[in-house]
């Protein structure tokens, strides 16, 4: 089958938002952070993802505000380009092609038109050797410019971008393992050493410059912070040491006024040191994962910390957390399957240690964590702590079964099976039953029956038994609540089960015991038949769906994919392929199989009824794929192309070993996305709040009405007004702005005004002019400050008479005046 080009693998969210320090826009309303090959813009107030700046083709490694225009942002990427964006509108203004992979970007206010970039020096990737170069940005009107004017500032610098900082004036320091290197551009360079004792772990880890004073703060591996001063006088430099962190200081940041120094490390405590009074410090503890970066807004009102658990915390200057932007939490490993919560359609997987995270794929947003283990997690290496290893939802999403386990390395295994009921009132899962000794050995596989009426859980464990669990069957507990208890214990020749699976209608249960598959009837617990296709232990097992429900698929460790016909109990077909993950689509007959061969993973999508694959994608990624899930689409695509049809009703997500969440996207889908994103980018200055949407829709409608010169415009005005009323009434009261604000709009909606339209037209034309001017300016990269929110400004309303008068005056010919002036000496 020919590989079609209109399906491509995309990195869909879940990328690291903590790779680089987030930046806060100068008006403190937006937080920008890198996320994969995107730059994401979040609102600081609502923590909502507003939009993303899309355009880089590889990992974005650094962002920084344009010092000449605070509404613009530079971003650099491994793809070798620096892009200048208008981050409010999400418009790419310019692309500078540097030509080599870039790893960090800095700007200095004293040097306009110059960027400082980290580039890799060595040609081979083994030698990690980085260089700080300054790049002169050429002035040119073109969209894409090559910037070749590079000059090296310092070489042999650390890869870690937090080891470079720019301070007042033209000071730049970079530090390697042991040396700080300060260079005053073209003046002098000077190095400091911090090794006075052998064996002391005082290697530098990070650095920050005071904004007004000549003071450099360095963080050290042993948790000390040193403030260096007086460093231009040779040898007479001096430093003071402060020590609070018990482990390496990850990051340092001065507040813009320089009154405080913020530091963070693995303790996940944000420490605020008062500059000058060094032992006065404040703490903000329990922020989650270890702090990787800290940044402060230019007015000093907001701080942002990014954490190792893929999180950005927005903190007010009064040391109160006011927002959390949580990306997909990536722990050390995803032990559970990828699952879809049937209710919220959220992706469920391991999150924080001991938690399940619910992640909205649609909005690329972390929804919430469900604490499964309910024990304090201790952040220390080498401890054996409980982890969630298995989880399963029933088909309605009203039950969740989890298995947590401890003692993987040691012999004394400890595990619990927990069942969680969905509570409608609190809209969350509530612990229903904890089964302490469900099995005598580790639970291998777990699944819910998929029938609507009765829910049944089957667990298969290494104690060569599988157990069926039912709700409320236990007569001993005379309580209202229905707890879960064991209903049936099954085994087969003392063999260890490897997998279990219910058929689509729950009429059959397949349990694989090593090389043998046994088929059971859950109603009578009678073994119906056994299927066997040696050699190889069964690795994966699934029933076909819909029209193919008579088929049972299985993969073995001996690289065999088999399909049995359950009606005939015979092998329908088998093929030799090393399948690492077999994932059936619950909404179609399709089954996806990931096969890992010679260092890359291939994907086959097929129907069990026919051994010919519907779709093949060679080289999906270079790592092994262990987890995959089909996510139902909210609205099905109606693509007719044969190769993309399998993606019509659901979307396939998969997780690589590098913890990248990838998906397949089709061309039509991308088109739709693009158009919707364009729609989103209409208003530039208002954060996306419910009220904004309300207003925005309203304005759109008005604009539509205005711009359409068709007879549609003479739609009765009454409807427009009623729409507004409806919107007003339907918006919850607590998100409505003050009545005084709404009043004029509300009243306006009732007016039938012709002048309003003409005025609007004029305004529009003005706006267009402005826009074109703007573009010109931007192209010239004069980077003038744009009058912000000009669109929103309420133009002073003139009375009709006044307006007419003005127009008349404007149209009057004043050329005679020119003559008069000329004639005068």
């Amino acid at each position: 089958m020919v590989e079609t080009s209109d399906i491509r693998v995309v990195r869909c969210g879940g990328s690291k938002v903590n790779l680089t320090p987030p930046i806060i826009s100068s008006d403190s309303r937006f937080v920008l952070c890198t996320s994969g090959d995107l730059v994401k813009v979040y609102s600081t107030r609502t923590e909502e993802w507003l939009h993303s700046l899309q355009g880089h083709t590889n990992q974005v490694t650094g962002i920084t505000l344009n010092p000449a225009n605070h509404l613009q942002v530079y971003s650099c990427s491994v793809d070798g380009t620096v892009k200048l964006w208008d981050f409010i509108d999400g418009i790419l203004i310019k692309t500078f092609v540097i030509g080599c992979p870039l790893f960090a970007i800095y700007v200095s206010e004293k040097h306009t038109g110059v960027l400082f970039l980290h580039v890799s020096m060595a040609t081979d990737s083994k030698n990690e050797c980085f260089q700080l170069v300054s790049v002169h940005l050429p002035k040119s009107a073109e969209q894409e410019v090559e910037a070749k004017e590079m000059s090296a500032v310092s070489s042999h610098i650390s890869k870690n971008p937090s080891c470079t900082a720019f301070g007042r004036g033209s000071v730049s320091e970079t530090c390697m393992s042991m040396v700080i290197f300060i260079s005053f551009f073209s003046l002098c360079s000077f190095s400091l050493k911090a090794t006075d004792k052998k064996g002391a772990k005082n290697a530098f880890t990070c650095i920050a410059c005071h904004p007004t004073d000549d003071c450099i703060a360095t963080g050290h591996e042993d948790g000390k912070i040193r403030l260096w001063r007086n460093f231009i006088h040779k040898k007479e430099y001096t430093y003071s040491t402060q020590h609070w962190h018990h482990n390496a200081v990850n990051t340092l940041c001065f507040t813009p006024e320089g009154t405080h120094l913020l530091s963070g490390g693995i303790e996940s405590v944000l420490v605020q040191w008062q500059y000058g009074a060094d032992n006065r410090k404040e703490f903000l503890p329990r922020l989650g994962g270890s702090i990787l970066h800290i940044s402060a807004s230019s007015d000093g009102q907001l701080f942002c910390t990014s954490h190792s658990d893929n999180k950005i915390t927005v903190i007010e200057s009064s040391f109160k957390v006011c927002g959390v932007i949580q990306g997909l939490v990536k722990g050390d490993a995803v032990l559970t399957d990828l699952m879809i919560d049937p209710r919220s359609k959220a992706l469920v997987l391991n999150g924080k240690p001991g938690h399940l995270q619910f992640y909205s794929l649609l909005r690329d947003k972390h929804l919430y964590n469900l604490d499964i283990v309910q024990q304090e997690y201790i952040y220390e290496a080498g401890l054996d702590q409980f982890e969630v290893v298995k989880a399963a939802f029933d088909i309605k999403g009203s039950w969740l079964a989890t298995v947590e386990e401890r003692g993987k390395k040691s012999s004394d295994l400890e595990f619990f099976l927990k069942l969680w009921a969905f509570d409608e009132r609190t809209q969350s899962f509530v612990l229903n039953t904890t089964i302490t000794a469900a099995h005598t050995d580790r639970i291998i596989s777990m699944c819910f029956s998929s029938s609507e009426e009765t829910t049944m859980l089957v667990t298969a464990a290494e104690d060569s038994q599988f157990k069926a669990w039912c709700q409320g069957a236990d007569a001993d507990t005379q309580q209202d609540q229905n707890f879960w208890s064991c209903d049936f214990v099954g085994s087969y020749h003392k063999l260890n089960p490897t997998n279990c699976s219910f058929s689509a209608d729950s009429s059959l249960l397949a349990v694989s015991f090593q090389e043998v598959i046994t088929i059971w009837s859950p109603d009578t617990w009678e073994m119906l038949t056994t299927l066997c296709q040696p050699p190889g232990v069964i690795r994966d097992l699934c029933f076909g769906r819909l029209s193919c429900s008579k088929y049972l698929l299985g993969t073995t460790t001996k690289n065999l994919l088999c399909c049995w016909n359950l009606l005939t109990c015979e092998l329908e077909w088998s093929t030799s392929v090393d399948v690492s993950k077999l994932q059936p689509d619950p909404f179609s007959e399709n089954v996806a199989a990931f096969s890992y061969q010679s260092k890359h993973t291939d994907l086959f999508v097929f129907k069990p009824s026919e051994p010919r694959p519907l779709f093949t994608n060679k080289n999906v990624c270079s790592e092994k794929v262990h987890r995959a899930v089909f996510v139902p689409r909210e609205e099905p695509l109606n693509s007719c192309d044969e190769s993309t049809q399998w993606l019509n009703r659901s979307q396939l997500y998969f997780l690589t070993q590098n913890m990248d969440l990838l998906t397949f996207s089709t061309a039509t889908e991308e088109d739709r996305m693009l158009s919707s994103s364009k729609q989103l980018v209409i208003d530039d200055s208002v954060a996306v709040t419910p009220f904004y949407l309300l207003l925005g829709k309203h304005r759109q409608q008005q604009q539509k009405l205005n711009t359409q010169s068709h007879p549609v415009s003479d739609k009765p005005q009454q409807t427009q007004g009623s729409v507004t009323i409806k919107e007003l009434l339907h918006t919850p009261a607590h998100v409505l702005p003050a009545a005084s604000v709404l009043c004029s709009m509300f009243v306006n909606s009732f007016l039938i005004s012709n002048t309003g339209e003409t005025l609007q037209e004029e305004m529009d034309s003005e706006k267009e002019e402005e826009d074109s001017e703007e573009e010109m300016e931007a192209c010239d990269s004069q980077q003038e400050l744009r009058a912000q929110g000009s669109v929103d400004e309420v133009t002073p309303k003139l009375s009709k008479a006044q307006e007419r008068e003005l127009k008349r005056v404007r149209k009057t010919d004043f050329s005679w005046m020119a003559g008069l002036i000329d004639s005068k000496p």
């Binding site: 000549d214 007086n230 460093f231 430099y237 001096t238 018990h246 000058g276 009074a277």
Partner: protein, 689 residues
Amino acid sequence: MGEFKVHRVRFFDYMPSGIRALAFNRDIERIAVARMDGSVEVFHCSDRFFQEKIIPGREQCGIEGLSWVGERLFSAGLNGGITEYDLTNQKVKYTVDAYGGPIWTIAGNQQGTHLAVGCEDGTVKLFEVNEDKIQFERNLDRQKSRIISLSWHPSGSKIAAGMMDMIQIFNVETGHSVHRLLADRGVGTSRSKECVVWSVVYLSDGTIISGDSVGMVKLWDDQTGTLIKSHNVTKCDVLALSVSQNEDSLVAGTSEGTVVQFQFISMVLGKDDKEWVRTRTFKNHTHDIRAVAEITTAVVSGGMDAQLVVRPLLDKVEVRSAASALRKIHFPHRRLVSCARKSGLMLFQYPGHLELWRLGESEGKGEDDIHLFVKRNPEKLLHLKVKGEDHIRCSAVSPCGEWIVYSTASSLRLYRLHCDNNNVSITKVLQISTELSANQLCFSSDSSHLFSASTQSSVHLVSLSQSGCKFVGTLKPKSGERTIGIRESSKIIPASEDGKWLASANSDHEVHIYNLQTRKAHCTVPVYSSAVTAMGIHPTTNCLFMMYADQQMCEYSIEQKQYTDWSRMVQRKGLHRFWMERDTPCLNVMFNPQHPSHVILHDTYMLCIIDQSLPLPDDKTQFYNQLTLKSLPEEQRKSHSHAFKVCKTFKDILCVELMSDQSLVVVERPLEDVASQLPAPIKQKKFAT
């Protein structure tokens, strides 16, 4: 290299006394140290902090403050008196009572005209410094509480006085208080607990810096009397402050044992608006730091743990060398132990008493080669208490063990020891009054004479016999050339084995050699820039071997009146780097009669034998080469060996002496033992404990 039977003596319970005050004199580069027992020591800062002078204290004499006025040293104490010291003769010159109750602090102005003392009764008393005495001038306005600390403005017109809860600024001319700066009591401490301003420093730009019991270092403006800035340095007290001469660096000693440095730095490079910024923290002490002194190249601090720590400021040091290394001075740079070489007796000198011990004996065979069984335990024969209030300055026991002599500031006493079996008794033979009080005492090797080094570089001779003793005469250096000027008192006097020669060194670095038969001065060794720390006359060659404070060594032939060839070779080739980097002076020079070419030296950390017949090491050769030599075969050893054999088996050595039976006595005083006898330090929370 010769094996010795070693008496490892650890029963000398010497306790150094805590340091109470420091005073640095920039002009003569001396630092004066006052200890809790009332003794005052003078260290030479540019001569590797060699302890030049020790003025022993008295009972009930707590010194609270020290101050240099010119080259004169004054102290004041809780007994209410101001004392001036006679540094040339190392004794108290006079004491003047201030009549204000206990004195807490003393400060001299920079002009050298006046001394101010702060008294318990709340007065600041001004004394005029006259040429030979001090004269009470007047009182400044009397305050309600005691004056804890004082500091003169460099111009001499104002005085800042630290008291309970406040600082007063006095105009010296009118004697009235100009400003009252209130130091607030600490946050979280009880209201009733007063804030003691332990230390004030008055800078020339009008800034007053105070350190108080709340743990704050505060900066005040004397014009407006307002607080400019305060630094919270510690949770405990800030006990001492000291500012550098150019007023760009300040050190504060705290009761946690840390020294905190502040520097006057421009916040923006290249601009002039400077600020006091807290910079480094040094932690070298375990106990309270009672005194700090910022000398230009180093910070000197001393406290309750009795050690004097010299912490170099590397940014001020031009060249890093052994002279600019961190230095901790635990023990006095002179001997507190004397041994009767022939009879196996040891005399331990404590401030207030003497102890005589008989060394133990062993069977001569041990379970292994290293440790021998003790047959007879060492026993304490005598505990001799000092008559009077003065502390002992020096003491000696004669080689035969029959005579004991000690000297205080006021008198010299000679005792005869009768020792028949277990019965020990002494009889006082001689008591000489002030005039003959000695700085150093020494017996001739045949115990027939006592030499007593005294004032003006003179040495008194006393002949001893069974019947009694007789003052024989005085040896004086040839003073024909110099008519004026007081000579420094002599210090170190070794006499030669055959009783013919006597050498004496004084703190002017002069070494005089006398002929004992003619009782005339024989010659003078050329003066070297560094002080002599130890010397000895070789028994056979009659060469004077001298060790200097800067670790140089010289050998001077007495008969030929010139340096020996070996000495010249040492000077020419230079000594090994490791030898020069040692930080304690050599305290004794001994000769092994069986190996005439061997010289035995020791300092606090090591014992060294110099074989003058072997080549000298240069900087490339391995200095501590005993282990390598051991591993080499016999024939190669010769080519690799050099003159210095260093033994580091013993630590914290107070004295090493070679007995006449070829055994060594090594008196150790482990620092851990000293530390264990100190009072408990301030409890500090340590992370992860």
